[in-house]
């Protein structure tokens, strides 16, 4: 119970810091009155239309990436799995970079192109991994993801090498992830795509425990393995594609957070998944606050911050685990 309280406090603190932090210096009082719609109208707009949706989006994306990572680790029975393992990041990156270098207009051009790229990668990897007509081979899934991702990265590299400096910079920033495009609309669209997959994944908590024993033991303990694997893969993919579309490719959250939770909470997915959601959300909301303020008015890509923060913490946890 104390662990849950600690995690809840951490999540609330990250949300609060996310709303307080930013290039415009607002105190707690300004933020509260801004939330209520009172006081300086500029502050009201900053708090209500910029910071709150941004911090909520960062939280929801971080939580979703952490949940997806935890699920994929059990699905492919590999502790190194993360949401981008299955070729998704490559496909999304390719879509986004194409949209940027082709100069497609409109605020939704890049996210839509990224989502289309991610979905194409998912379908390709899935088709590769379904063998003998009906069996989803998770080993092929893993390798197919790596191969499709590598191919997409190669094409991205070629496009970037041939593109002008300005679009090169835009593409790089997008590839490293961020929430500059955050809005209530983006949050709403993300949630529309995220709620069902998250519910499906949480409902599969017990079968996920079984799946980490191996497919045959899982089956004999009551998991209908083939439909389960498909359900998990499709849900995890849709969730990640939605996250990529609104925030680019944010590394480490999906790998490090599930493991941090595993070390403290153990491997029961019924508690692992919600705990990973809270910690992933808190980490990404906090990282985004840091990304916005560390070099203000410049913004760091949030993926850089998650890596810089996440990796040393994880290394410490690993040390503790080993002893």
């Amino acid at each position: 119970m104390r662990r849950w309280t600690g995690l809840a406090v951490l999540a609330v603190a990250a949300l609060a810091i996310g709303v307080l932090a930013g290039p415009v210096d607002l105190g707690a009082r300004d933020v509260v009155s801004g939330l209520m719609g009172r006081g300086d109208p500029v502050h009201v707009v900053i708090v209500r239309n910029l910071r709150v949706p941004r911090v909520l989006l960062a939280f929801a994306v971080g939580g979703s990436l952490a949940v997806t990572g935890a699920v994929l680790q059990a699905l492919v029975r590999n502790p190194l799995a993360d949401p981008y393992l299955l070729g998704l990041s490559g496909g999304a990156g390719l879509g986004a970079v194409l949209a940027i270098t082709l100069g497609l207009a409109g605020p939704w051009a890049v996210p839509i192109a990224a989502a289309i790229g991610a979905l194409l990668a998912i379908v390709t990897v899935y088709r590769l991994a379904v063998v003998a007509g009906s069996v989803l081979d998770t080993r092929v899934l893993l390798l197919g993801g790596v191969v499709v991702g590598a191919f997409a990265s190669a094409v991205v590299g070629a496009i970037l090498a041939l593109s002008p400096a300005e679009s090169l910079r835009n593409a790089l920033v997008w590839l490293l992830g961020g929430f500059d495009g955050a809005s209530w609309q983006a949050l709403g669209i993300f949630l529309i795509y995220a709620v069902v997959p998250i519910a499906v994944l949480y409902r599969a908590s017990r079968p996920l425990d079984l799946l980490s024993l191996g497919e045959e033991p899982a089956r004999f303990l009551g998991a209908d393995v083939e439909p389960l694997k498909r359900r998990l893969y499709v849900s995890a993919s849709v969730l990640t594609a939605a996250a990529v579309a609104v925030s680019g490719i944010i590394g480490f959250v999906g790998l490090v957070v599930p493991h941090a939770i595993r070390l403290v909470w153990g491997h029961t997915h019924r508690s692992l998944l919600p705990a990973a959601f809270l910690l992933g959300g808190a980490l990404l909301a906090g990282a985004d606050a840091l990304a916005r303020t560390a070099f203000a008015p410049l913004t760091l890509p949030v993926g850089v911050v998650t890596a810089v923060l996440g990796v040393p913490v994880f290394a410490l946890l690993l040390r503790r685990w080993a002893t």
Partner: protein, 268 residues
């Protein structure tokens, strides 16, 4: 019938020789049946067919009165506990958690485990002589302890049918005997049905009501141990000279050293 095979055949994809070939047999409620035979004779494949984990290429496999493949995994796991041959957990688990997984078929997706479930887990651990292991990480268990923990998990399913696929591999004499005693006891009371795949022909002969001898994918003999486990059959199946003696009316076999003859023994 608990299990029924009718002219059952199965070939793994891209392998010419069928793993199971034209097997017909029936296992009734309350029976203790042992499946014996050399490596690669199709014992495990037969069991997987009967459990619906594989689709037959010909013939029928029926389980608890229905086509084996028509069972949902969950409904089957509520009634049949299986200790499979292979299992490799990818994340570290404690023994008690491992055994608790046996309760999963009985609880809803969003339901918590009740005190009844916990009591069943306690009892299963005690049955398998694994209570003292409860807090251990499974990676630290010896081979025998690991098998007993998996047996405990199958017992935690509160099954009416128990299927053990070489579940006594790696056990020392005492623990192996205890597993057979335990299973025999569960068959007597409360009347479980047990199917054991084993290399221990002598223990199979002493504990099982009936023995199925597999060779080259075929069930070459099915029947009472005393009728089935004869010297010619065992020599043919295992491709090794043996002598068969009787111990309290039950055949017990002894593989012979090269050059030894059955007459070299010290009498019966």
């Amino acid at each position: 019938m608990i299990f029924e095979a009718r002219a059952l055949s199965f070939a793994y994809p891209a392998i010419d020789v069928p793993a199971v070939q034209d097997v017909s047999l029936a296992i009734g409620r309350g029976e203790f049946v042992a499946i014996v035979g050399p490596n690669g004779s199709g014992k495990t494949t037969l069991v997987r067919l009967l459990l619906g984990a594989l689709a037959p290429t010909a013939g029928q496999a029926r389980t608890l009165g229905r086509a084996a493949r028509s069972w949902s995994a969950r409904a089957l796991a509520q009634r049949v506990g299986v200790v499979a041959q292979r299992e490799e957990p990818v994340f570290p688990l404690r023994v008690r958690h491992m055994v608790t997984l046996g309760r999963y078929p009985h609880v809803g997706a969003l339901q918590s485990l009740s005190s009844v479930d916990e009591a069943v887990v306690d009892r299963a651990l005690a049955y398998a002589d694994a209570t003292h292991l409860g807090h251990r990480w499974i990676a630290t268990l010896s081979g025998g302890e690991w098998q007993r923990v998996r047996l405990a998990r199958a017992l935690a399913q509160e099954p009416e049918v128990l299927v053990l696929d070489e579940a006594t591999g790696g056990l020392d004499v005492r623990h192996e005997m205890e597993v057979f005693e335990l299973v025999a006891g569960l068959v007597t009371d409360p009347g479980l049905t047990a199917v054991i795949v084993t290399h221990h022909v002598n223990l199979a002969a002493r504990y099982a009501d009936r023995v199925v001898v597999m060779d080259g994918g075929r069930a070459v003999a099915v029947g009472l141990p005393a009728q089935v486990l004869t010297q010619p059959l065992l020599e043919q199946v295992f491709a090794w000279p043996v002598t068969v003696r009787s111990w309290r009316g039950v055949p017990q076999f002894l593989p012979l050293k090269r050059g030894e003859s059955a007459q070299h023994g010290d009498g019966s």
